[in-house]
Symmetry: C2
Subunit: 269 residues, 2 copies
Amino acid sequence: MFRNAKREAGKEGQSRKGKMKLEVYADRMSQPSRAVIIFCKVNGIDYTELKVDISKREHLTPEFAEINPMKQLPAIVDGKFKLFESHSILIYLACAFPGVADHWYPADLFKRSKIHSVLYWHHSNLRRAADTYVTNTTILPTLGHPSNQQAAAEAEKLLFSSLSKIESFWLKGDGPFLLGGNQPSIADLSLVCELMQLEVLDEKDRDRFFGPYKKVQQWIKHTRNATSPHFDNVHIILMKVKEKLTNKPLMEANHGGARDIEKRWRSRM
Amino acid sequence: MFRNAKREAGKEGQSRKGKMKLEVYADRMSQPSRAVIIFCKVNGIDYTELKVDISKREHLTPEFAEINPMKQLPAIVDGKFKLFESHSILIYLACAFPGVADHWYPADLFKRSKIHSVLYWHHSNLRRAADTYVTNTTILPTLGHPSNQQAAAEAEKLLFSSLSKIESFWLKGDGPFLLGGNQPSIADLSLVCELMQLEVLDEKDRDRFFGPYKKVQQWIKHTRNATSPHFDNVHIILMKVKEKLTNKPLMEANHGGARDIEKRWRSRM
């Protein structure tokens, strides 16, 4: 099914002898999908992007379960090797493709271990907070569904705490990136892509979160610049959602559009 | 403060020339702390265990914030290098100590990537489910506090789903360990230590969870045997809590004991 969907190959791809082209199964509505796609594009990895349309529930089909039995995006197939979970994919790509610059996932054990530390921390903090908050304050109310206020309040607290930790600890070094780096790592890309989903919040609410954190604001810009123009290109779909939410409340929009976005958001991973 | 607490060094320690002895900051009441301690013991890593007593809120002190600004356990200091998040610690130890057998964290990129996949999956599934369920069905009611029934119900669903995925997917290979391994990896150790906290549940409830999953039951036994006698020794504190919960309900126990356990559980990470 999704095999017939839009395919997009890297233009300046680096290929490996005797290897079939890497397949990336993704929907750009999912933030970890976007991180993997941006990573491939920035590093000139020769890949085929296979859209698994969440709004059409393609990720729940038996066909996709052959790729990822957890039915989540993104997933990759590299020859006979299948892998899911975006952080493990990013690490794999950085190691498997010799053209990827060291700063993305340094060979040095100490630097690499710190990046692991950020990535695991991210799972229990920023990822959990941002997702729960956006769902309960923006998506569900916009769609006219009841939201869990307690969950939103807890997520808000965790989101502030996560942003504060990024500002005061992960960004405390000399460089503009996490852990004091002068160039981004896979951790910068993953965390910034996560924060990008806050773009769909009401502007005042977004300012309330980001306002106190100047370093975080700069870091997002630096990550965006370091991965330009791919960062913006891959986020186009999110910006379209933001536009709809801002200018054209979904409840007042045509039903087809609202249903489409509802499906996308509800199935998001 | 915790520097004067109980110190326990590995007996058959492997040391590295010119390196100070590894310091492990832990409280055996925390399941990731137990995983790291068992790993050190099984692999004969020469370390000093520094107890950071959660019940005394030692993890929240400025002194411990110097070790881990996230104020969570476990954390390590290896010479000048500080690290937290148990999965990143386990990976670091497996790479930094040459005596650690390859099966714990294989050098092979494909095997290693699959282990990363399990570990990241674990964070958003089993870890979240087990923790939320135990807290809301056992700890809070035992202490006479109101619990969140909705959270417990969602956690129960995620816990069954996680166990089912372990049974049908992660354990589907020929070997007795995750990913078809014949020997355990750091993923086996981390996930089994997580499941061990279900020991404090009511027996019928525990049977309800584990009953349908025969492979999971066997896998826990295999992991325990492969890390014997350290596995049982490090879990003694959890078994004491289980005993108290089973034979002597906390609300009827002396207040000191109940308060002590409440503090421990409430501060658990």
